[in-house]
């Protein structure tokens, strides 16, 4: 289990549990995200609060999840990224395709 999941009113908070978001758990993350998205939710907020580093494999899984979500009208927001992780996403321009917030509360604020 890579994600700790809580759902309220079709909004899912999915917290990545490992400190390393990498090749070793990228496939499991992708499968769990696809399962969540397939349940008919409207928004998945992915928290990186535990993640100290991330690699290209995990970033690839994140993009696969977004590609699966978009035609199903499901949004994916990213929250609580540590500076190293956020800088890497920015380096390869992933900040242009994901909405990024400081924390869950800020992300949920967009729903009102």
């Amino acid at each position: 289990m890579i994600l700790k999941v809580e759902e309220i009113n079709r909004v899912v908070q999915a917290t990545i549990l490992p400190e390393e978001a990498s090749l070793s758990n990228a496939d499991a993350f992708k499968e769990e995200m696809i399962t969540i998205i397939g349940k008919g939710v409207r928004l998945v907020i992915v928290s990186f609060e535990n993640v100290n580093y991330i690699d290209s494999s995990f970033l690839g899984s994140l993009v696969v999840a977004l590609k699966y979500a978009m035609p199903r009208n499901v949004d994916i927001y990213l929250v609580s990224l540590k500076p190293d992780v956020k800088n890497l996403l920015t380096l390869i321009r992933m900040d242009k395709v994901f909405r990024i917030f400081n924390n869950y509360e800020e992300a949920q604020g967009t729903l009102n």
Binding site: E20, S22, L23, S24, Y53, D55, S56, S57, L59, G60, V63, V64, L66, K67, M70, D84, N87, L88, L91, I92, R93, M94, K96, V97
Partner: protein
């Protein structure tokens, strides 16, 4: 592990479980060699990303073979080298064309676009010796980032190219050796 004055050689068994430990070993060496002139945190973060990607690349593409990582610190640069005897590099470009090493004489020198995400175009340029130098061409931003059209083996190459000051690949046909080289130049030399 062999250690001399400015370079260590680390043998990595190309298994994913070994990545965190090997990464920490590399970073510890760099911090230790930097000594009383600690490296800028932003630079260390970039070095960490590249080591991660080199090790991940080894797990994905070297099979069960050993990979050798060499880390050198000079007065003006950190140089990371990854060597193995696995399959030579094959790059598939945006138009699905392939280039593979060893390169045929007729295709040298060559500029080859590999991937673009709507803002950056990752390209490779080969020189007379067949050495491949990766570089980025910035594009005018597209309305819909092309990032989503290619999920890709290319993220790793993109990270290593953008994080490094120089990123290159060499292949020695006689021995079968593959070598990726990532160089980070200090803005101010280490005293």
């Amino acid at each position: 592990m062999r250690e001399d004055s400015d370079q260590i050689t680390i043998v990595f068994n190309s298994n994913r479980e070994g990545i965190p430990g090997t990464l920490n070993l590399c970073l510890d060496h760099i911090r230790q060699k930097a000594g009383t002139s600690p490296l800028d945190e932003d630079l260390l973060a970039k070095i960490k990303w590249v080591i991660m990607e080199l090790l991940t690349n080894a797990v994905k593409h070297s099979g069960e073979r050993e990979t050798v990582l060499k880390i050198g610190l000079t007065v003006d640069a950190v140089i990371l080298e990854k060597e193995d005897y696995g399959k030579p590099l094959v790059l598939v470009g945006q138009d699905r064309k392939k280039i593979m090493w060893p390169l045929e004489e007729m295709v040298r020198p060559l500029d080859f676009p590999i991937y673009h995400n709507g803002m950056d175009s990752l390209c490779v340029r080969t020189d007379e010796s067949g050495r491949a130098i990766f570089f980025i061409e910035e594009l005018a931003e597209l309305e819909m980032p092309a990032l989503l059209s290619d999920t890709s083996e290319h993220f790793g190459l993109l990270i290593m190219t953008k994080a490094s000051d120089e990123f290159a690949y060499e292949h020695e046909p006689e021995s079968g050796l593959n070598r990726f080289i990532s160089t980070f130049y200090f803005t101010q030399p280490i005293p």
